[in-house]
């Protein structure tokens, strides 16, 4: 099905199942331990062996020699694979660095070897017996030092703008020109990268944890130089991804190489201390923002430049993305610059681009509002735009940022905020409120599904779509139930298997809308097939209550499959509506914090997000997505930072004790409100993404609240207590 004109009325609009708060259908399996995660599959033929990866001890250099003899002789060891015996390997399209080092080492903890043994403990012990002699090379590990040599982005990362930014900024009566920094961040999802690999002749099956089955399939085939049809990826349950599992990673490759060498299935999980440096991370940014305003508060010039680093061949963090679209202003400029660094591979993490970009932009907006003497909500409302400011002939498909702001302000009690910072005390606490806009583009990807109507009237959906904890199983089941007029309990959903039709996968908050639209398309086909089987002829078919009705003819849906199950397959393909209409999601984040005036510790007291993201398919799981994102935003604001050792070239705090993410005690009551929307330009589901929107802007709302509490403006994330401690006033 091609989606190239706005959706008319369709069966989803009935909203009898879709749009209803629905507990996740896979919940009982998960809480009873019956949902097998990558490391846990029991249905693998053959006697399992265990793999353990040795990571490189240096960040950049060459492996001069590698002695595996002691490891090979160690108890229980079945095989040791290094670059010397791995065979010829290609490289996946989505990988910047190779997944197996040798002889070149491209980054710290890059996989150097995998040991396969009878037990996990034996494999781990033997890995420590591998002697590697490295020739260490000097590397570039410091973004600040590399910044002058950064290159301007090209293609979709090329500079963009409109009007005369420099002239308008120079002439603006009110200006700000500030620099903000965001640190390297780690996905830090609960489930580490993990894989079971099994070969049958030249065919390979991997049970893994991967957000994008088809990307992983192609890149695994490319790396092992196998035909794609000889590879199968199975990933039905995933314990979090946040972008860390978008790509083929070393767990999959090393398990496959280990299994080939051992001639047995091998299971392997990345040990936690390897994850920060072996896998990808969100790169640090340095962002310069210049805003020029007229005295009435209208933005006349808006400029945003961002610098980030990556390995040779990598890409920039697109932190200026939202600045092209979020606020009006005739004169505009955005630019991305990329420095080459020899730190581990930078890549996508939840809301790449907007997440760090909004952390900076939305402080700048707060600073400008203060300089203008305007309320920051009113300032944002004043500078709203309903069209793409770089291409004013191009409207937004739907944009309710102003409503989010105003409704949020009213619900949060924003009018109680003191505009002057440092005014509210509660014992030893300095109390403040902050606001930020939320913005994240809505992306769509082609997505396919196969649907079956069984002889007993049950509907099954098969797609290689993934559920990374987001609730995909449930919204797909809701979609099929709505379309086919059957109860939710009559729908079975099978996900995460590369033998099923290729889907959008989970990334860029496109998964929910794209994958359910693919299921919609397949169900439209199934409805046609059912009507044809029933011989009901032309006329509008109504599917409800387990029955099919055309005119005054009615039948049980099951009766259509009496002669055998009906199977159809289709996909949704998106035309050029995203070119004609800018498709984005919007929101407003409100935060109240308290800062201990003695110690500088920040505690978040209240949070509210108001989101405008099209139709909300399942308010229960959508809320879970947003509160999780708000939690991640608090982490980014207050504590998350991969600490770079600029001498050795690695992230030092590479475990969950050193890389701090919020714990329960850090997170207060969170409120989430969804505006009642349906965006007919984005898909037949009229839904948009929400999982990343919930993160974008949270950090800045926290930062702005801290400023409102203390009067000290911090522009370097995370806002740890040391950054404002000596400016919080004398204490007795």
């Amino acid at each position: 099905m091609k989606f190239d004109t706005p959706a008319g009325t369709n069966p989803i609009d009935r909203m009898t199942v879709v749009g209803k708060p629905t507990p996740r259908i896979d919940g009982p399996l998960k809480v009873s331990g019956q949902a097998p995660y990558a490391y846990e599959h029991q249905d693998v033929p053959g006697k399992m062996a265990y793999g353990y990866i040795l990571g490189s001890a240096v960040a950049k250099g060459t492996i001069r020699s590698i002695d595996t003899a002691r490891a090979e002789r160690a108890a229980g060891v079945v095989a040791v694979v290094t670059h010397r015996n791995a065979g010829k390997l290609g490289k996946g399209r989505m990988n910047t660095a190779h997944l197996l080092a040798g002889p070149q080492v491209e980054h710290y903890h890059q996989a150097v070897a995998v040991v396969v043994a009878e037990t996990f403990e034996q494999a781990r012990a033997a890995a420590a017996l591998i002697d590697v002699d490295y020739a260490r090379d000097a590397g570039r590990f410091d973004l600040v030092a590399a910044k002058p040599d950064a290159k301007e982005g090209t293609g979709s990362d090329a500079p963009s703008g409109a009007g005369d930014f420099e002239g308008a900024f120079a002439g603006a009566p009110v200006q700000i020109d500030e620099t903000y920094t965001t640190p390297d961040q780690s996905h830090a999802m609960m489930e580490p990268h993990a894989t079971i690999a099994a070969w049958e002749g030249g065919k390979l099956t991997v049970w893994t944890a991967n957000q994008m089955i088809n990307w992983g399939l192609k890149d695994l085939a490319a790396t092992l130089q196998l035909p794609v049809e000889n590879v199968r990826l199975i990933s039905p349950y995933i314990g979090g991804g946040f972008g860390g599992k978008l790509f083929l990673r070393a767990d999959v490759l090393m398990a496959a190489l280990g299994a080939r060498a051992a001639k047995r299935p091998v299971k392997l999980a990345l040990q936690r201390p390897l994850m920060a440096n072996n896998t990808t991370h969100r790169p640090a940014t340095i962002q310069r923002i210049r805003l020029g305003c007229a005295r009435d508060g209208k933005i006349t010039a808006i400029g945003h430049e961002s610098w980030s680093g990556d390995l040779e061949g990598g890409g920039p963090e697109a932190a200026t993305q939202q600045t092209k679209l979020l606020y009006a202003g005739a004169n505009r400029m955005t630019a991305l610059r990329l420095a080459v660094l020899d730190l581990p591979e930078a890549n996508a993490m939840r809301a790449p681009g907007e997440a760090p970009g909004m952390m900076a932009l939305e402080i700048a907006i707060d600073e400008m509002a203060e300089k203008l003497g305007m309320d920051p909500v009113a300032f944002r409302v004043l500078n709203d735009t309903q069209v793409d400011p770089e291409n004013p002939e191009r409207p937004f498909s739907q944009r309710n940022l102003v409503r989010c702001m105003e409704e949020g302000a009213q619900r949060f009690g924003w009018n109680r905020r003191k505009a002057k910072p440092g005014q509210v005390r509660d014992g030893r606490w300095l109390v403040g409120m902050g606001v930020a806009a939320a913005f994240r583009n809505n992306l769509n990807q082609k997505s396919g599904a196969r649907v079956r109507l069984s002889t007993s009237g049950e509907v099954s959906v098969e797609t290689d779509m993934t559920d990374i904890g987001t609730g995909t199983y449930t919204i797909i089941a809701q979609t099929a139930a709505e379309m086919m007029g059957v109860p939710l309990a009559k729908v079975n959903v099978k996900l995460g298997d590369s033998s099923a039709p290729v889907s959008a996968g989970s990334g860029g908050q496109w998964g929910a809308n794209s994958s359910t639209s693919g299921v919609y398309a397949a169900c439209v086909k199934l409805r046609e097939a059912v009507v044809a089987k029933l011989g009901f002829g032309p006329g509008e078919a109504v599917f409800e209550g387990g029955q099919v009705r055309v005119g005054n003819r009615t039948a049980d849906i099951a009766s259509a499959a009496r002669g055998g199950e009906i199977v159809v397959e289709d996909s949704i393909e998106f035309g050029d509506l995203a070119k004609k209409f800018q498709q984005s999601t919007f929101g407003a984040h409100f935060v109240e914090v308290a800062v201990d005036r003695y110690t500088g510790e920040t505690r978040v007291r209240r949070m509210l997000a108001v989101c405008a993201a099209g139709r909300i398919l399942n308010p229960t799981s959508a809320r879970s997505q947003v509160i999780g994102a708000m939690t991640m935003g608090v982490g980014g604001a207050l504590m998350e930072e991969l600490a770079v050792d600029k001498r050795f070239g690695f992230f030092v705090n590479h475990d969950l004790a050193g890389y701090e993410v919020p714990v329960h005690a850090d997170i207060p009551h969170q409120d989430v409100v969804f505006l009642d929307e349906a965006d007919d330009k984005v898909s037949p589901m009229k839904a948009k993404g929400v999982g990343e929107l919930g993160l974008c802007g949270v950090g800045a709302a926290v930062a702005n609240a801290i400023y409102n509490a203390t009067g000290v403006r911090i522009r370097e994330y995370p806002i740890t207590l040391d950054k404002h401690l000596d400016r919080l006033g004398e204490v007795a």
């Binding site: 003695y598 600490a643 050792d645 001498r647 701090e660 850090d666 207590l721 401690l725 204490v731 007795a732």
Partner: protein, 317 residues
């Protein structure tokens, strides 16, 4: 993890004697730190002597005042003990500020005192670390040192001791009671128990080979308001950037010890005496010899301000 042999000790003296006679032997109780370190091959004992069956899990009143805490009393039980909560509240507060419920259920009093530093370079076996591998150098100096020590450091090591409990015990003037391989016992004041790194940072304490902690004695309760303030980057489940254990009387006199700033709980009698004069003089005294790094110099300001907060809290109590 390297292969190791294992035995259950039959008595405290037997355990101490075995530990002294077998190279590479270590005691194991809760194992909440040791096992993690063994998995990473930071600790590589060849023999484990399990002391969990030795009793030593009672909290008893000492004739004439004070409490004797068995070496194997679990952190949860120690924190919850009514006598501890009433008379040594700073200890309960310190204990519950540390780790998680699950870890406290397992971790023992002696094990808590003997836990190793959380310096990230100690934890990464690819990095030089004089504490892990004597003579290999210190990667933390000149590296990421935000969590590390600002006072009592050496050119060989800037690690901190991570315990909260030990900081409270320091302010309470606890003494650590041990048994030696020959069956003799001794009491080591908590002030002397942990060492400064000097040029032998691999030695955390003054314990001799085989010497085993059997109990910790707390002297008669110290009157005053008991406060433990732990400052960190998140609200729970993190090691202290700075912590302050204090017992302060109505007259403003008392005792104060700091965690997170040194290789051992940090306290000085001269600083205690300055408590009535306020946080500034106390901190100036405690940090007179400080040698902070760029990343952690804030700890001195933080400690001073946290002491000020604690003094204010005591005044309001």
């Amino acid at each position: 993890m390297r292969p190791f042999t294992y035995e259950r000790a039959t008595s405290a003296q037997d355990a101490a004697a075995k530990a002294a006679s077998m190279p590479g032997a270590r005691f194991i109780a809760g194992g909440t730190n040791l096992l993690d370190l063994m998995k990473l091959e930071i600790e590589t004992p060849t023999h484990l002597i399990d002391v969990n069956g030795l009793g030593m899990d009672k909290i008893e009143e000492i004739d004439g005042g004070g409490l004797r805490i068995g070496a194997l009393v679990r952190n949860t039980d120690l924190a919850a003990d009514k006598r501890v909560r009433e008379d040594y509240a700073v200890l309960t507060r310190a204990l519950v500020a540390g780790a998680s419920g699950q870890l406290r259920n397992k971790a023992t009093t002696a094990g808590n005192l003997l836990q190793r530093t959380r310096c990230p370079y100690f934890y990464d076996v690819n990095m030089p670390c004089n504490k892990r591998k004597p003579g290999s150098g210190c990667a933390a100096i000149g590296g990421f040192s935000r969590q590390l020590a600002v006072v009592g450091t050496s050119e060989a090591c800037i690690a901190t001791h991570p315990s909260d409990m030990a900081v409270a015990m320091r302010v309470l003037d606890a003494s650590v009671e041990t048994i030696r391989p020959d069956g003799t016992t001794r009491a080591i004041s908590i002030a002397e128990f942990h060492r400064l790194p000097g040029d032998t940072p691999h030695r955390d304490t003054v314990l001799d080979k085989g010497e085993m902690i059997i109990s910790v004695a707390l002297p008669r309760q110290r009157g005053g308001t008991h406060i433990y303030r732990k400052v960190r980057d998140r609200a729970s489940y993190a090691f202290a950037l700075v912590s302050v254990a204090a017992v302060i009387g109505r007259d403003g006199r008392g005792a104060v010890a700091l965690g997170g700033v040194a290789h051992k709980p940090w306290r000085e009698a001269e600083a205690d005496a300055l408590l009535p004069k306020g946080a500034g003089p106390v901190a100036d005294r405690l940090f007179a010899e400080a040698a902070p790094r760029e990343d952690n110099a804030f700890k001195i300001t933080l400690a001073k301000r946290t002491i000020a907060s604690v003094i204010a809290e005591a005044r309001e109590a």
